[in-house]
């Protein structure tokens, strides 16, 4: 075995992720090769330094008690977002607004059981990546007349871009993304401090599909298909607000 073949598996070997026959191959190479065994030593030394020098933090007892009491309190049945961390004041206001919104829209609010389809996983990863890398927008703008043309030079279709400011969803800009093995448009909106990604691309299926909500890994999503276009909205917003958003997008579309 050459170094070129061994190197890519060196860390998997050190991390004990290889099966026995493959481990044996790497081991043989390490015995014969100073350069690779030197690298092995460095990686292992770093690992022991981390484990010796960096603490594994333990949850404080107070936190454990708080969570236990959260879990046992009936108040928290299927509620979310009323914790201090996520704008509980807004949640309260939103809740009161939503009572009337529900009456008007008669939303089918029961999210489907979590279905981790491949595409849903991709959507979540894309959303998290956009939060994580601060690469939220390629074209920052709150003006749909600036965002829409920006897409047209880059995609062979035109993603829906709406001004929903008066409804409380502020356009933040557009971004190119890659999903389902193709380039897609991502339109970003903000609602209070929440970020919402709307992914749009031409579907391979022509039939329409009505909006359906689901939850994946702590995010709410709504997906639907109209006029051959596939839409996915994802956010940590609650499902009511996300549903409202998806209605607004698909509704204003028909103007």
């Amino acid at each position: 075995m050459t170094c070129d073949l061994a190197r890519p598996f060196l860390e998997a070997y050190i991390d004990r992720e290889l099966d026995a026959p493959d481990s044996l191959h790497i081991e043989e190479h390490l015995k014969a090769c100073n350069s690779c065994s030197g690298l092995q030593e460095r990686i292992e030394a770093l690992g022991s330094a981390i484990r010796a020098g960096a603490p594994r933090y333990r949850a404080p007892d107070a936190l454990r008690k708080r969570i236990q009491s959260d879990l046992r309190s009936p108040m928290h049945a299927a509620t979310l977002g009323r914790k201090h961390l996520f704008d509980w004041r807004w949640a309260a206001i939103a809740a009161s607004v939503l009572v009337s919104a529900i009456a008007v829209w008669q939303m089918p609010l029961r999210p489907h059981r979590e279905q981790e389809s491949l595409i849903a996983r991709e959507i979540v990863s894309s959303h998290v990546r956009s939060l994580m890398t601060n690469h939220l927008v390629d074209q920052p703008s709150s003006d749909q007349h600036a965002v829409k043309p920006w897409f047209s030079g880059k995609l062979d279709f035109s993603p829906t871009v709406k001004n929903l400011d008066t409804e409380g969803f502020t356009l933040a800009g557009g971004r190119l993304d890659y999903l389902d093995n193709r380039p897609v448009g991502a339109v970003i909106y903000r609602r209070r401090k929440h970020i919402l990604n709307l992914f749009v691309w031409p579907s391979s299926q022509s039939s329409d599909e009505s909006r359906h909500s689901s939850t994946t890994k702590g995010f709410n999503t709504v997906a639907w298909r109209t006029d051959g276009m596939q839409f996915w909205a994802i956010s940590d917003l609650n499902e009511h607000e996300l549903d409202l958003f998806s209605r607004l997008i698909s509704q204003t579309d028909k103007e």
Binding site: A12, L63, L71, V124
Partner: protein, 214 residues
């Protein structure tokens, strides 16, 4: 002699069965007062959740603590993450549960960071932005060892978060690549490349810190 290694690990997509539905069918109990039945089901669900997820509290807190780099924030994130996890518990397919829970903790962390520290987050990705004077020169070997230990903690803190989280899960939690892939919601290959790049960066940071000290 050119045997290429067929890498044995593959990312297995999790296909959660609808737990609640299945269990309800299996019990086949007489339909009673529906509110009472749902209250009991709710209590059972919570008990099952607590048994499955509370043992991972330290892992959840450790990850959040390293990601937010702050004790109070980590506590808030973890408390929020547990409530979210409870809501999404029906999507849990069973098994160890640590990867599943940490995926939610991690997402809660990112949501939190986006909201509270957008500027700092941008800085995180420039590792040259600043480097703290982690260690002071000290002739005593024991103290120097301590200093080194402290410096590695500070060096990990300086790592960009997408490497830091992987290093923490691997080296401090001892998670397998598969578990990390589940928690970070990326393919196994991405775990491997981030881990490799993270280790290289960390090594550089440590050398720089020790260079300053000695």
């Amino acid at each position: 002699m050119h045997r290429s290694i067929a890498f044995p690990i593959q990312h297995q997509p999790v296909c959660p069965p609808a737990r609640g539905a299945r269990e309800a069918e299996e019990t086949g109990a007489e339909p009673e007062d529906p509110t009472l039945t749902s209250a009991i089901a709710d209590r059972e669900e919570r008990a099952s959740f607590e048994t499955a997820m509370l043992p991972h509290l330290d892992a959840a807190y450790n990850l959040a603590r390293w990601m937010t780099r702050n004790e109070a924030d980590a506590q808030d994130v973890v408390q929020e993450a547990y409530l979210r996890a409870l809501r999404f518990y029906q999507g849990f397919a069973g098994g160890n549960g640590r990867g599943w829970l940490l995926a939610i903790v991690r997402n809660t962390c990112y949501t939190w960071m986006q909201r509270n520290r957008p500027l700092e987050q941008a800085l995180l990705f420039d590792e040259n932005a600043h480097f703290p004077d982690c260690v002071r020169a000290n002739p005593e070997t024991e103290l120097l060892r301590r200093a080194r230990e402290e410096s590695i903690e500070l060096c990990i803190r300086e790592l960009p978060v997408e490497f830091r989280e992987i290093i923490v899960m691997r080296e401090l939690e001892g998670m397998s690549y598969r578990e990390i892939a589940e928690a970070a919601e990326v393919p196994m290959g991405t775990v491997m490349s981030r881990l490799a790049r993270g280790r290289k960066r960390l090594e550089r940071l440590v050398h720089r810190a020790l260079g300053k000290a000695e």
